[in-house]
Amino acid sequence: MQKRMVGVLVVVALLIGIAAGGLFFLPRDQEPIVEEPVGEEPVGEEPVVQEPEEEEPVAVGEDALPGGVPRNETLIAGILSGKIMTPDDFNVWTVTWKHVDRGIQQLMLEPLWIVDYVTGEVINALASEPPIYNEDFTQMTVKMRDEMFWSDGVQITADDLVFTIETIMQNPALGGHGWSNAFVERVYAQDPLTVVFELKEPNTRFHSHFVDRWGATRPMPKHIFEQAEDPALFPFNPPVSSGPFTLHSHDPGGYWVLWERREDWERTPTGELFGMPAPRYVLFRHHGPPEMRVLSQGRHMLDMADMSMEALRASLMGNPYTRTFRDEFPWTVNVDPAITGIMFNTARPPFDQKEVRWALTLAIDIVDFIAIGFDGAAVMGAMHLPPTPVYQEWYYEPMEDWKKEFTIQVGGEQFHPYDPEAPMRMAEHSRLRGFAVPEDPQEIRDMFGIGWWKHAPDVATTLLEEQGFEKIRGRWHLPDGTPWVLTLLTGVNPIGIGERNAFAAAQQWERFGIDVNIMASPMEGTMVDMGEFEVNEGWPAIEPWGGHHDLYRTFNTWHSQFMRPIGETNPGHDGRWSDPRMDAIVERLEVIGWDDPETFELGMEGLKVAIEEMPSIPTVAFPGMIVWDEHYWTNFPGAENPYTQPYHHWPNFKYMLPFLEPTGR
């Protein structure tokens, strides 16, 4: 018996030893984060920062690029959408998802227009000027850029655009079939570089279908597609590019695509507007789960990567060349044009009452929320709009006074829910955790956001009690007397941003006295669409353009015409909220052009309505978790140098490439 026991223990010990060996592979240069439970006396500990050891680049033998593709002329980036299911098919005009982010939208195709949400501009790419509408918006003219060529030498002309639209209109399996048939009466080329759309009815934002905001209808090469029997089934392999890179080779297993710079790169919008892309080759590769990406980056085989929050820390720890968008804490991208938070199903009681929604908002302590959900590394946003620098300038700052004066009616009195000091509290909390946080209020606001709603559980209590809720023995009960059990529907990814929002909210509400039941389901998408949920971690508001101040894209989804009852699929925002004031704003926006200065006022009006009604709780801007390895390339558009947007999966990626600099290794 002892022999047996010893035998088993020896083997187990061996295994633990091996595993532990694997675990300690990374040299540590930061001590593990010290976190105080909120509410207790903070203990001031000095963070021990060891000097990072200079790591010799590990031999890249079996991961080497093919001959003729030097590593220091190649930029390696990750594929956000994972493994490509149709690796041999480059036709992205179909209605279904074909992994455009494997380099197709970032390198291969140029759109007519594109938004940059960091600089706040709309760039004319294949179009030479913004869309020209007639008086009553029934006609749109597009002027194409001259001297632009496909990679096989054929010039890009108005014919390509006309052909694209006509093909889409004829083929239901192509994306855009619906709206093109609904709006386009006639499309024709007035001259080789001018396209005229005649619309069936006035549409002030018809051009938005061509504005690239992580997707758009882009011109397809007529001379190639007209030879295809069925443009939807045509695999477009090998593809021709309108962008500055062509396909070099790809993985039939769907894990990588290698692109090569065109000789005639100057005959593309990228080349003409920005210059020669610095890397001669770009490799898009899906390395696997986040741990694999960390390992690859450790071997300097991944320059631009998306990570999870923990993987981000792991990569920073082990690799002296890596950096994140923001060089120090809180590391994450704070310019992502999406606001995350909690979404209520306003068609379902008790979430149809704005007092209940506000109460739940005030029950959240945003500092604790961000600490629990994001380890402190996220920017708070109080409005239904991502708090990116340009939106802060256009909307957040101008509305600051209004927010401070805004009141809600509680117990017969007016209560000011806005808390402009929230970022200061967040800064204090981070200081106690040992991070270097500046004292300058402006810098603090840049880091953490410019304000949020107060943590006021007593006000929340009053609001609920006014609606008939009762707190019995510390737990809340619904007006009908039954205990309140709130079901929070989430997806199944424990490190997803939505899920993190959900966990943090659940913790806050539990502390407040509500029984929260987290239901994780792979069927989340369908359930939310059908309205079969109470509370969900979906985006509180659909993302705006990012690079343009017009908020139609966000508000339109709240129009009552798109709301369907529970049990039916909902084309509008799945929270099913609508308000006649918002409807009026949307309808007014629809008749004025998107550049009209009135859109600013309407935007602010809409945001005010959303705040008053609080149909969903905006919490933090999407914390982009990207890590750059500066071993081979540098001058990435980080927070200190934001010359363009920072992501490699956005189509603006090609406009970043001319500015990268090789390190010379």
């Binding site: 047996r4 035998g7 088993v8 083997v11 295994l15 091996i18 694997g22 592979f25 590990v58 031999a59 033998g61 079996e62 991961d63 080497a64 690029l65 093919p66 956000l80 959408s81 493994k83 299911m85 149709t86 098919d89 179909t94 209605v95 279904t96 998802w97 074909k98 982010d101 239901p172 399996a173 079939h177 619906g178 709206w179 905001r213 992580w214 939807a232 070099h248 993985d251 039939p252 297993g253 894990y255 990588w256 290698l258 490799l283 390395h287 390992l295 071997r299 085989m301 792979p522 069927m523 998408g525 369908t526 669409d529 993302e543 894209r553 989804t557 129009h559 798109f562 699929t569 084309p571």
Partner: protein
């Protein structure tokens, strides 16, 4: 002839029944999935921030519903499915419409088939042989030690084991590539370079799966052999002075191998579920992630196609095993 009638025919009939019932079961189950493939397509775009505006969304939903042929009652869809099946047409995929399902499978299957076939056979062979020897010589020290090692190795969750193998043999000691199916830029010809590259990339996944796989075969074979060895007829044979080798081959192994072979057949058939965790950890191409994506997106056609192939393959393998059975087991032969 009599043999054919009495033995083969009922088995073939059973085979057909099993295939039919299995496919129907799957058909029913996936129709019960609350996932709407149409909405999933829209969701996928929304996930990346490329939300389609609500008006277009409504139009898109209508168009997709028509194209997907999800109209009609469940019976109509059922018969349509069988009709298409007999024409050898699996239909178009839904979440990758209009790419035909067969294209997707043909792209992904060779990787899985290659990896799993090889791994399953090798681990089966290795595990069975070692298990047989360990079972026969179950009193010896080395057999006991091996048994203990295997016993501890087997329950390690594959994800963890794979990750540790990767860290040790691909990162710390760079013997193998850090994941992937082939190296970047390798031409897809049947050249020597291509083959070597595929093998180098398949080596670590195969090794990881193989080690854990052999553990299972080892244990079952060892138990069977051990119990057969103590059966009466073996003891009599030993007492009667028959040579050890004769006993081993003629009696012990023949009896022990049959359940092992049946289990092997089943296991080979599981190829179609793919090695999902292997594909995830090693970023290895294959059919597992296709199937997983299909389930998440409610792609009925892909799921039906893969499970149909799986069911048919497994049943055929079992049928073949059943037909070879009489060659091994005289008792059955005389029945």
């Amino acid at each position: 002839m009599l043999f054919l009638k009495k033995y083969m025919l009922p088995r073939v009939l059973q085979f057909l029944t099993v295939v039919f019932v299995g496919i129907t079961l799957v058909f029913i189950v996936i129709r019960m999935l609350p996932v709407d493939p149409v909405k999933q397509i829209i969701n996928t775009f929304a996930m990346f921030g490329a939300t389609i505006d609500p008006a277009s969304t409504e139009l898109l939903i209508q168009t997709l519903r028509e194209m997907f042929g999800l109209e009609g009652t469940i019976f109509e869809q059922y018969f349509a499915f069988w009709g298409r099946l007999f024409r050898g047409d699996f239909g178009p995929s839904l979440f990758l419409f209009p790419v035909p399902v067969i294209d997707l499978i043909v792209t992904a299957l060779p990787w899985t088939a290659g990896l799993l076939l090889l791994t399953t056979f090798i681990s089966w062979l290795f595990g069975t042989i070692m298990g047989g020897l360990a079972g026969y010589f179950h009193k010896s020290l080395w057999a006991k030690f091996l048994d203990r090692v295997v016993m501890v190795l087997r329950p390690i969750p594959f994800y963890v084991f794979a990750l540790v193998m990767l860290i040790i043999f691909a990162y710390l000691i760079p013997l193998f590539p850090l994941g992937g199916g082939i190296a970047v830029g390798t031409p897809i010809t049947f050249s020597w370079r291509f083959i070597v590259d595929v093998i180098r990339h398949a080596a670590l996944p195969a090794l990881s799966m193989g080690i854990l796989g052999s553990a299972v075969w080892f244990q079952t074979m060892r138990l069977i052999v051990q119990s057969v060895t103590s059966e009466d007829f073996v003891v009599y044979a030993k007492a009667g002075g028959l040579k050890k080798n004769t006993i081993a081959f003629k009696y012990v192994i023949r009896n022990a191998i049959l359940p092992q072979i049946t289990a092997l057949g089943l296991s080979l058939g599981q190829i179609f579920s793919g090695a999902l965790i292997t594909e995830i950890v090693f970023a290895y191409p294959g059919i597992g992630s296709l199937l997983n994506a299909a389930i998440i997106n409610g792609d009925y056609n892909v799921i039906m196609a893969i499970t149909t192939l799986s069911i048919v393959t497994i049943s055929t393998l079992i049928l073949i095993v059943d037909l070879i059975y009489p060659l091994f087991d005289p008792q059955v032969r005389f029945k």
